[in-house]
């Protein structure tokens, strides 16, 4: 009895609540970087806070943001996904094949695009799990294969959706007046991703594997199988990004995609997710993606010469992430 009481002191019964509150506070504060950036640009340019411009920022965030959602899952396991960029391209090309070339119904084409994404994820997952390839290699290879296949399948020419009625409305339409569907899709996808990450086995095991893969396996979790599942989930987001991209451009651009993977990963990491795995938040990823898009947009709105924009973005990223580290203090 006495034992229990005494030792309980060491654990400090107040901790749990304090911890809970602190986490909530953190999530609120995570906006801070974004808010500061927003505030700065609002003062610097009269055009910045225009709804049209904010909409532009959100639109620019949408595709990279959706890719980043998927990448968050892979990064949560301690892996990395370099194939999100060109994989997204392959998905838009295949959507083009389904809809524009084969003339399949809209829903089928869209689901087909998602399926191609899942397939890309499946191959990544199998290569990582069963061939034991480092995720960097597996997804680098997939990045190249997807790029090549996009060109092969499209005949190196864009596929246009001009004849596919309503396809462009997928991204450009406004179910909620004033808010383009692409943005709506991004937010809905983020909400789903947040639930999957924190409330389903897929998410839980992704974090667990990232935290300690061996221990997770010893605990009886079929790590290999779950890794495949996690990569497939990531692939689905890649597929969604591909469909949204195709709709936004009303065409599938086979040459696009390279470089998007770095942006997506950067959004994830700026959002506070650790590349070592085990720690990940979807909200962070969304904020990370918004920070990137806002920075680019704001500097452009201010008509900063393009060569200086890069320098500024680099410096602001350092400051934003450092502020975040300071804020999180020792917990990080």
């Amino acid at each position: 009895m006495t034992t229990t009481k005494r030792t309980a002191k060491g654990t400090n019964p107040k901790r749990p609540t304090r911890f809970g509150n602190r986490q909530q506070l953190q999530q609120l504060l995570a906006f801070a970087g974004l808010v500061v950036i927003f505030g700065f640009f609002s003062l610097a340019s009269p055009y910045f806070l225009d709804w049209a411009n904010v909409k532009g920022i959100l639109l620019a965030t949408a595709v990279t943001g959706i890719m980043a959602l998927g990448a968050t899952f892979v990064i949560a396991t301690g892996g990395i996904d370099l194939s999100v960029g060109t994989g997204m391209t392959l998905c838009s090309v295949m959507t083009g094949v389904f809809l524009a070339n084969l003339g399949l119904p809209l829903v089928v084409g869209v689901l087909g695009g998602l399926a191609v994404g899942a397939l890309i994820g499946l191959l990544n997952g199998l290569n990582v799990s069963y061939l034991r390839l480092p995720p960097f290699i597996a997804t680098l290879a997939m990045m190249m294969v997807a790029q090549g296949l996009s060109l092969v399948i499209s005949g190196t020419k864009p596929i246009y959706f001009s004849d596919v009625a309503g396809f462009d409305q997928l991204a450009a339409g406004e179910l909620i007046p004033g808010l383009p569907n692409a943005v709506l899709i991004f937010f809905v996808a983020a909400a789903i991703a947040a639930v999957v990450l924190s409330k389903t086995l897929t998410g839980r095991y992704a974090l667990s594997i990232g935290s300690n893969e061996e221990a997770t396996a010893i605990s009886g979790v079929d790590v290999r199988r779950w890794k495949v599942v996690i990569y497939v989930v990531a692939g689905l987001f890649t597929g969604l990004a591909g469909v949204v991209m195709a709709s936004r451009l009303n065409s599938a651009q086979p040459g696009l995609g390279l470089g998007y993977e770095l942006e997506a990963i950067a959004a994830v990491v700026i959002g506070g997710t650790s590349l070592r795995g085990g720690k990940a938040t979807i909200l962070g990823t969304v904020i990370g993606a918004l920070i990137m898009a806002t920075l680019t947009n704001g500097l452009r709105i201010m008509s900063i010469p393009q060569e200086w924009q890069k320098v500024a973005v680099g410096i602001v990223i350092v400051l934003a992430v450092y502020a975040d580290i300071l804020r999180r203090g020792k917990d990080a």
Binding site: N53, A60, S303
Partner: protein, 302 residues
Amino acid sequence: GSGGSGGGETGAGDKPYVALVSKGFQHQFWQAVKQGADDAAAELDVEVTFEGPETETEVEKQLTMLQTALDKNPDAIGYAALDSEASIPMMTDAESRGIPVIAFDSGVDSEVPVTTVSTDNLAASAEAAKHMAELVGSGKIAIVGHDQTSQTGQQRVEGFTQYILENAPDIEIVDTQYAAGDQLKSADAAKAILQAHPDLKGIYGTNEGSAIGVVKAVQETGKSGKLTVIGFDSGKAQTDAIRDGLMAGAITQDPIKMGYETVKAAVAAINGEELEPVIDSGFYWYDKTNIDDEDIAAVLYE
């Protein structure tokens, strides 16, 4: 430096503001376009900003730039579309807001642009092919392209290939490789081609980076003089190569004029003047013989 360093006030100020969204930024060609635009801006007393994505595949990035440009509420927009189809909604948006659009470099497949300032890439590359055919006579040649998917990249290969097929039956194009306009990678690609086809008679590089890469490859394999190299665009390395006889000649557009005419047309549009539907910024063949001619020297950039 940049012409539009006036910051956020530009559009609100009294000077008219013209936003140019091009296909590229860091390449010498686009820098020359920018220079022409800046010249015109100084001359006509307008504000000009100039932006473009890093590579000519980044359609989405360019659209975002165009979007931001529109959000700045300019008096006119100059736009070199990477994919005209994809930009239709924004063209419509510009039209509805009464912002005149000037297309440059390549056409925008839309009614919106009031005029198009461009070079006919198909014709220009056919011109390159014509000189290649004259210089080589017969045998195998190859192409080092700079971009497989962009319109410009494709047309510069297409126009060339088309001409050879139709007009030079004795010449065979044995290989076409792409190396992103990166000089080093273009050199590596050209070397591989030379290795695979020891009897190659000529190589055509479709932009500055590709062409210099080809020259590099020829130098490094010690084949200078045995091979006809034809390039595209200018830049010091290329003009040097032509002077030194490493390159037979090249096609140059007139990027400075392109930039200049675009801004000039924009100002005219702002003032409500009528414009020709097409303003040809032209292209020229240049080689050792005419490189120092005044009219050629004027369109070449360092």
